[in-house]
Amino acid sequence: MIGMLAFIPFLHPIAAVHDWWYLLLVPLSFGIAVIYKAMRLPTLDAFWREVFVMTTQIVVAMIALAIGLAIWVRLVIPLLPVSPQAGLTPAHPSPPAASAPLVQRA
């Protein structure tokens, strides 16, 4: 029944966007590039080419940033040693230091 109700643009949100929200980076970058280039270019002769280049730069940079962060979080951070000072219990406790008092057995 809910699906039968009419969708009204600009009043109802597009629920389908929830699954592919990351693709909205492209129109977002395009809009930012249009405004920025319209302000900064001394002449507007090559405006659309400049907008295309800046949009591509933003999208590629964000993809590279995502790949870099994924490598950092999934590959590099698990390789880091766990510090006891950080309040975490090590998997293999280190032996007692030489200065530690020995317990004599009766």
Partner: protein, 153 residues
């Protein structure tokens, strides 16, 4: 009225806030002004299309609305529409049996207002689009007030 030089013009700044791009048009940079208008309205309308009217909310998303209000009166109009059409009286689902029955029966009278509320990433992206339109328009307002570029448009 056209002042295409780089002198400070508060009138152009006010016009740029009233309608995106109008500040540059008032300075005689028509082509540049229309491109800016296209860019800001593209982001604004794309945000409304994705998130619905609910993504401009002065009462529940006050900090976001600070950025969105930089788009000018259109943001306040969108918020007015949101408060009138989307934000309805909250339903107490535990006590209001009639509302529960209507919901389960698929009554449009109770389902239609619920469909207008944006949730999750849809609401986030719509809010972000409109907020970015406002923040970019702030740069446009500053540029309209005292442009720094040189050369013809």
């Amino acid at each position: 009225m056209a002042t295409s030089d780089t002198e400070f013009s508060p009138t152009a700044a006010v016009l740029a806030w009233l309608w995106p791009g109008l500040g540059h048009i008032s300075r005689g940079e028509r082509h540049r002004g229309f491109l800016i208008m296209f860019g800001v309205l593209f982001l604004f309308l794309a945000g409304l299309l994705v998130g619905g009217l609910d993504c401009v909310d002065r009462k529940n998303d006050r900090l976001w609305f600070l950025a969105q209000s930089l788009c000018g009166p259109i943001a306040f109009v969108a918020d007015f529409g949101n408060q009138r059409l989307v934000q309805t009286e909250p339903i107490d689902w535990h006590r209001d049996r009639e509302a529960r029955r209507q919901f389960l029966a698929g009554d449009p009278e109770i389902i239609e207002p619920l469909r207008r509320v944006g949730l999750g990433r849809v609401n986030e992206m719509g809010t972000l689009f409109v907020a970015l339109a406002g923040l970019m328009n702030l740069v446009v307002i500053l540029d309209a007030a005292s442009p720094t570029r040189s050369g013809p448009s």
